[in-house]
Amino acid sequence: MTATDPTIASAKSERGWYKRNEIAVTPWLFLAPAILFFAFYVIWPIYQSIAISFYDWDGLGEAQYVGMANYVELMDDSAFEVSLWNNFKWLLFYLLAIPGGLFIALFLNQTVTGIRIYKSLFFFPFVLSQVVVGLVFSWFYLPNEGLLNGVLGLVGLGPVNVLGDPTMATYGIIAAGLWPQTAYCMILYLTGLNAVDPEQIEAGRLDNAKGWKMLWYIIIPQLKPATFIAFVVTIIGALRSFDLISIMTNGGPFGQTRVLSFYMFEKALSEYGFRMGYGAAIAVVLFLIMLVFIAYFLWSMWSEEKGR
């Protein structure tokens, strides 16, 4: 009786290991390249940075283990403190790109002859390299010949040296960064506005909603996905700010416009930088700040998925 079904038994043994586990294994096979690259280019360097931050190393000679000494030194480093504060300023003021982008998108979301040209013109700064943006703005801000002071002079305001004044320089650079970033948010909102449901607007109209109320209660809730993406790219953009600082002030005047990424570069990789361990410690702090946002993004995406 046990041998009643030999065909099944033989078929089972004929099927290979892969065939038997196909359902479970295939997703992993497809994920494997991504996981491999992610591990190699993201996870491993993070681990390495953390490891290096416990060493005193000039990048060329022998590394010397110093424990937490790099972090202890950071606590007492006024340049680090300045960079950290500047990072927060960037995070806060860079977010102005979101309402700015929304405003321009609403403004451009109409059918007029040639609107495509206007849209492309508004989008133009985002296509420019950050280096070009930085150069243009540093000329704009020039203390004597710059356009800004020309305009200020017309209305009788004294000349200001935006990039040479330690209290103003960071805001000046952020303003330059807002130019392309606003364009980016604008394009996100423009696509978002295409997806706004006309029926809901119609229904709102019937209920006598217009102006700000229409915007706040009908339009903006429907733009939530666009707002989320705009928020993510703006936060990431703020934390990655480097090119503009490097071009416009080179971290100066006397280091007052540095942010963590720039300070890390200066300490570890620049002309006079020979302190890989110290640079890595700064990188770890920056990573922790980013981690807060990454966790928030992941959490909000996850709860979005779960809500469906």
Binding site: L142, N161, G252, R275
Partner: protein
């Protein structure tokens, strides 16, 4: 008899052919990395390398010119990873990190050859670390004050001989609605030049070196005296406004347009100033005047160098190239006014008949008894120099922050020279 003469001639021809063959035997690739990215030096170097290539047709020479500022960071990568056979760099302390990491080839053998030993003796010290030589110099240049002769004549001023005259000249220039000195401190090192001179003139070369080596504290009263002298100039309004916004190149229009009367700079400033239209009737040079009459005058004269990376693949050709670069004729050629416009390192070379080169050469050989420094960021350890130059810039903008700056520098000093 005829036969023997002929055979001797043949033998002679054979031996010269052999010698010719020996030097033409250099084959393979020779990769040269240069930081001479400014137009004039770049053309000079390319011409010189082409000449070298013509002498050695078997060599396949490739030249990479990297932006001078970017080069300073890239050198760390290419010395370890993808090493060229010859690379430019700077003398003295700036070599230390690469020498101690074993990335520069010891070229003491070249310095033992009589041709180099006899003619390059004056720069040997700047190339020596731990009793060995790690490269060869190819040029050096004086620093000093380049000024607008026509403005000085217009105001009836003479080249100052001491600090009081320097200040009274400056006051006259300010009264005429100009600034005395242009400077662009965006990249910080230009302020280091002013500190070098003010410190060496106030307390002398030896004191300056003691500070560079960390034997004198930044909070020392003598250092404060140097800053007090500097402050006199700052408080007069001697320097152009907003200098923290400009690179040194961007600071040149002030002197070209006559808004500033002078600049403290190395001789490399002459080429762009001439190009901008300042001929010898408008541009002149004087040595930084004495401040404390009791100290001997000392000068900054940075030396630029060629090195063979330890990981180079064609060291034989690289050595031949180094010999070529320092040879008397090449030195005369590349340093003349039409090319680098600087001073040749080979004692057998001729200094070009150029007003500024002659004045500089005379100054360095006859009127610099105190000694010759390399430059602030070459004499001080890199990390100390970086922090200090930032402090110098801050001091020039906010002189009142001095105590704070010096306290900060002392903290850095404690860490750097441990």
């Amino acid at each position: 008899m005829r036969f023997t003469t002929k055979s001797m001639l043949m033998a002679l021809a054979g031996s010269t052919m052999l010698a010719g063959a020996a030097s033409a035997e250099l084959t393979g690739e020779l990769k040269i990395f240069l930081d001479t990215s400014n137009p004039a030096p770049r053309a000079t170097m390319e011409k010189m390398i082409a000449d070298f290539g013509a002498e050695h047709p078997g060599l396949e020479i490739s030249t990479t010119v990297i932006d001078r500022e970017a080069y300073k960071t890239q050198i760390r990568n290419f010395l370890t990873a993808d090493s060229p056979d010859v690379a430019t760099w700077y003398a003295a302390n700036r070599m230390t990190p690469y020498v101690s990491a074993g990335l520069f080839e010891d070229v003491s053998d070249l310095w033992a050859e009589p041709e180099i030993a006899e003619n390059l003796a004056s720069t040997k010290g700047a190339m020596t670390i731990d009793g060995k030589q790690w490269g060869v110099p190819y040029t050096y240049y004086q620093w000093g004050i380049y000024y607008r002769k026509d403005i000085y004549e217009e105001l009836g001023l003479n080249e100052p001989a001491n600090f009081d005259e320097m200040k009274s000249n400056c006051q006259a220039i300010i009264d005429s609605g100009r600034k005395c000195y242009t400077i662009g401190t965006k990249f910080l090192w230009t302020a280091g030049g002013w500190f070098d001179y003010l410190n060496m003139r106030t307390h002398g070369f030896d004191f300056h070196m003691e500070l560079a080596q960390g034997n004198v504290k930044w909070t020392d009263d003598r250092v404060k005296e140097t800053f007090a002298n500097w402050r006199q100039l700052i408080d007069m309004g001697a320097f152009v406004d907003n200098h923290q916004n400009y690179s040194w190149q961007e600071s040149l229009p002030f002197i070209v347009n006559g808004e500033a009367a002078a600049i403290l700079k190395g001789n490399f400033a002459v080429a762009p100033l001439r190009e901008a239209g300042l001929d010898d009737s408008k541009l002149d040079f004087y040595q930084f005047p004495a401040i404390n009459p009791n100290v001997e005058l000392a000068e900054d004269a940075p030396t630029d160098t060629f090195h063979i990376p330890a990981n180079a693949s064609n060291k034989e050709a690289a050595r031949e190239f180094l010999r070529f670069v320092v040879s008397a004729n090449v030195q005369t050629e590349i340093n003349n006014g039409a090319n680098l416009g600087q001073l040749p390192v080979n004692a057998g070379s001729a200094v070009d008949d150029d007003k500024f080169l002659n004045e500089g050469f005379t100054m360095l050989s006859e009127n610099s008894p105190g000694g010759v420094a390399q430059f602030f960021d070459r004499d001080f350890p890199a990390e100390m120099a970086a922090e200090a130059m930032q402090g110098l810039q801050e001091f020039m903008v906010f002189p009142d922050n001095l105590d704070d700056i010096l306290a900060r520098l002392e903290k850095v000093q404690d860490r750097v020279y441990k």
